[in-house]
Subunit: 87 residues, 2 copies
Amino acid sequence: MKSIIATLATLCVVSSYIPQIVKGLKTKSLRDVSLIFLIVIILGTLLWIFYGFLNQDYIFLLANSVILIFAICLTIMKIMYERKRPV
Amino acid sequence: MKSIIATLATLCVVSSYIPQIVKGLKTKSLRDVSLIFLIVIILGTLLWIFYGFLNQDYIFLLANSVILIFAICLTIMKIMYERKRPV
């Protein structure tokens, strides 16, 4: 029971970034998404990855690695879109 | 060591929503933030809260409750700002 809830919760949190990336790719704008939010999420997931490594919890490590990749993608997209924006 | 990393990681993930809320309040726009992202985050944190409750892990439950409140705030702000936007 607990592991099902944990799996579903992890799937939700990991997959939540997909619609954000899709929206960003469609609108070519992530102006309203805070860069600090993304950087702090990256920092947090890096710490969780290290925690998963120390605990040898590789599922946890994998889930956070996927979030890290998504957050890095969003950060790169945001920076790229901001640069292209006319002043 | 592990608990310090877990605490720091939790603090990062929880606090990451603050700059996003501040940005939203300043710009009065969350158009680029995906509503599906917010809803799935809310669903995920609700599941984590339930998991924390089952495990009697009240720190974990509290951290996810704060994320839940932040995500609900962002969702309400987004809906309000979208309604006010001229067509």
